[in-house]
Subunit: 422 residues, 2 copies
């Protein structure tokens, strides 16, 4: 059985890789027509997709799946319309492929161009959200890449139905159908096979929880773009404007809790702790946020639901209405604490002292560093990058919110007249 | 013992990582002064370095090491002067750190800058060339990165002596000494420990033969920039100018044989095989190049040293005076053959037909694609990139010849006045 799965995934990936070649030099017009056709096909086949989704929903309900997860799994006509619009928004992106990034004539008269080209075959591994199927396939086709998709088993019927509709539309647009491929077994071994296909899969992008991402990073032989884990801090400096600080903490913590750019930890300068923290803690408490605080914070907490922070709390990404709070001596301690426990996602200082802000922005090593703003702005849309694929917490290739451009590489194109190297 | 080595390498790497932080925001002037000081220190300590090298040379001779390897290992006053000059040439590079790559003000009035920053801690694993120690340390210090070095055991005394001289010079320049760290055990387990240090080592760059590179790629948990394997093809199209074709083949094959951008395989269009190949083969033979040819080539080969090509030959990187030769039906077969056996390094077409050239340049997937020029031009210096670190055969982050810029990443720096996300 394991052998069968290995052969199945390898064949599927090789067919997708073969499809990536003609797709890679398809014209901008062809790729735009394909994503438009994909949108139309989704609308036309909405009923069939919703019927497939109903199978997943029934099975998930029978298995006692939580309401939150059921909501993520659910497809409605409105959500399918949203997916179609997402595809159409890709059509108006400027073509990320074929851009001449640099050009020069080198000494011996050779013309040298550095030109953006698609990566080739992109593998996306994700969880319960069926819409990722169309987001991922759309961005890949738009950027001239083939994709091989692997959705969560809970969403299998939905993801396969969507992928088939999209693959048909790609074929109708005159591009290879295998450019949108999906693994049609829920056997987990398939993911591990996929992650091992060096030379076939050009990049693997996991989209989902910390467990999925860690599994991919630790087990993949193919290059991975690591996304998403955010233990984001807000450091309130002694020079902070308290009103701004409270607004930023409340927004970063509570505006949306299950997201990687939400604040998970609050650091407060010792010299203002007495003045700042009591009301801050009351506001957090009133919003239903459970505070895990250090000793000093406990002394200042006139709230019901306080718990003592453990060493483990400093490293936790709660993704819930919980926050860790620590009083620090100064900027040195704040920056060192973030260096130790941060995940390199988004880190903010609130300070009126410009020198303190600039030092923090310079010295903190993260994909996005903020002075006097909410960490919730770390987002491809907010940053004006267009359709976001994810938020990278690695340093190579793509860092922070990344979009279509991250699905390209480049090659050097050299035109000569017989030159040889002396 | 294994535990001791793990602890030793981990401590060394953590100290180097700690050193990377202050180095990462050292000024351009400080980093320039440091590489200049490193050059001066090499010159001043040339005798001690040559004495350490003599120990390596004696041991290598006693072990019956080949002349070629002994030559790579040998340090002379001239070679040390060359290393010093290499360091000085880094001083005049424009600062790759702190460049504002993009800047915009986003809707809510936030100022957003995308700024280049060092990667952090760079691990370099290399083989018998002691000069890589100073090349690697220099490029890292210039780019604000700390480095942890691991030279070949045959060159251990030389590499350690050089690294200590350089680390002292870094310290004398007011930067942390641990920014140039070297593993001082020849136990191979140390390399494997180094490759596992996720979160400490930001990138691993192996420099050496295919075996070393494969070992790193397959065993590393840290991000790797894969370098160097080149099974480069020259495809002689039916429209080729034969004189240009022969000159390009001879240059690509014989100008320097042990390098990754040398030609290893020649593909010739069937329609011109009779007219082109016989003289080409005589020229190759006369230059001492052993031809591994297919059946059709054998029929046209009026030379002594012909051997029949096996399937394995099409994938071989000879790095020697050997070449595989195949007659192909047309461009389709040539492009497909390169897609199957190429390593994505450098690929060339020789053709007067512009359409054939443009098709080849577009459809062949490699870091550098050439029309009518030698593959030997794939080189950071030739491409005008400055001090080359290596030639990447991967697609993520850096592709083809890469230099200082590849040792940087970026971060988004966001300055606000209390903005929160609506």
């Amino acid at each position: 059985m394991a052998d069968n799965i290995a052969a199945y995934v390898e064949n599927l990936a090789q067919a997708a890789k073969a499809a990536s070649r003609p797709l890679g030099f398809a014209s901008d017009e062809q790729r735009v027509a394909a994503v438009r056709g994909m949108a139309t096909a989704l609308r036309r086949n909405a009923d069939a997709i919703i019927a497939a989704n109903a199978l997943d929903m029934d099975a998930a309900r029978a298995a006692g799946t939580s309401e939150g997860l059921l909501d993520r799994l659910l497809l409605t006509p409105e959500r399918i319309e949203g997916m179609a619009r997402g595809l159409e928004s890709l059509a108006i992106l400027p073509d990320p492929v074929g851009r001449v990034l640099e050009e020069r004539t080198i000494d011996c008269g050779l013309n040298l161009q550095k030109v953006s080209v698609p990566l080739g075959l992109v593998a996306m591994v994700y969880e319960a959200r069926p819409n990722v199927t169309s987001d991922a396939a759309g961005i890949c086709i738009r950027t001239g890449n083939a994709c091989i998709l692997r959705g969560g088993s809970i969403a299998q019927n939905s993801c396969v139905a969507i992928a088939h509709v999209l693959a048909d539309a790609v074929q109708d647009a005159g591009l290879p159908r295998d450019a949108v491929s999906i693994i049609e077994t829920t056997d987990r071994a398939a993911t591990d096979v996929l992650m091992g296909l060096r030379g076939t899969v050009d990049v693997l992008i996991p989209r989902g929880g910390a467990g999925l991402i860690r599994h991919c990073v630790e087990n993949a032989y193919v290059p991975v773009i690591e996304t998403g884990t955010g233990n984001c801090h807000i450091y309130v400096h002694e020079s902070a404007d308290f009103d701004k600080a409270r607004a930023i903490v409340m927004n970063s913590k509570t505006q949306r809790v299950g997201v990687c750019n939400a604040c998970e930890s609050l650091l407060v300068d010792e010299r203002i702790a007495d003045a700042f923290l009591p009301q801050m803690l009351v506001e957090l408490d009133a919003a239903g946020v459970l505070v895990h605080g250090d000793e000093r914070t406990r002394d200042l907490a006139d709230i019901m639901d306080f718990v003592d922070a453990t060493e483990e709390d400093w490293g936790r990404e709660y993704l819930a209405l919980e926050i860790s709070v620590k009083v620090v001596a100064d900027e040195d301690e704040a920056i060192a604490h973030i260096g130790r426990y941060g995940t390199g996602h988004s880190e903010a200082i609130v300070a009126e002292d410009e020198q303190a802000c600039e030092r923090f922005l310079r010295e903190v090593d993260a994909s996005a560093v903020y002075a006097n703003a909410s960490t919730r702005f770390t987002d491809g849309g907010e940053f004006g990058l267009g359709a976001e694929i994810g938020i990278s917490t690695q340093k190579l290739h793509a860092r922070g919110p990344f979009a279509a451009e991250a699905l390209t590489t480049y090659k050097y194109v050299v035109r000569g007249e017989g030159q040889v190297r002396p």
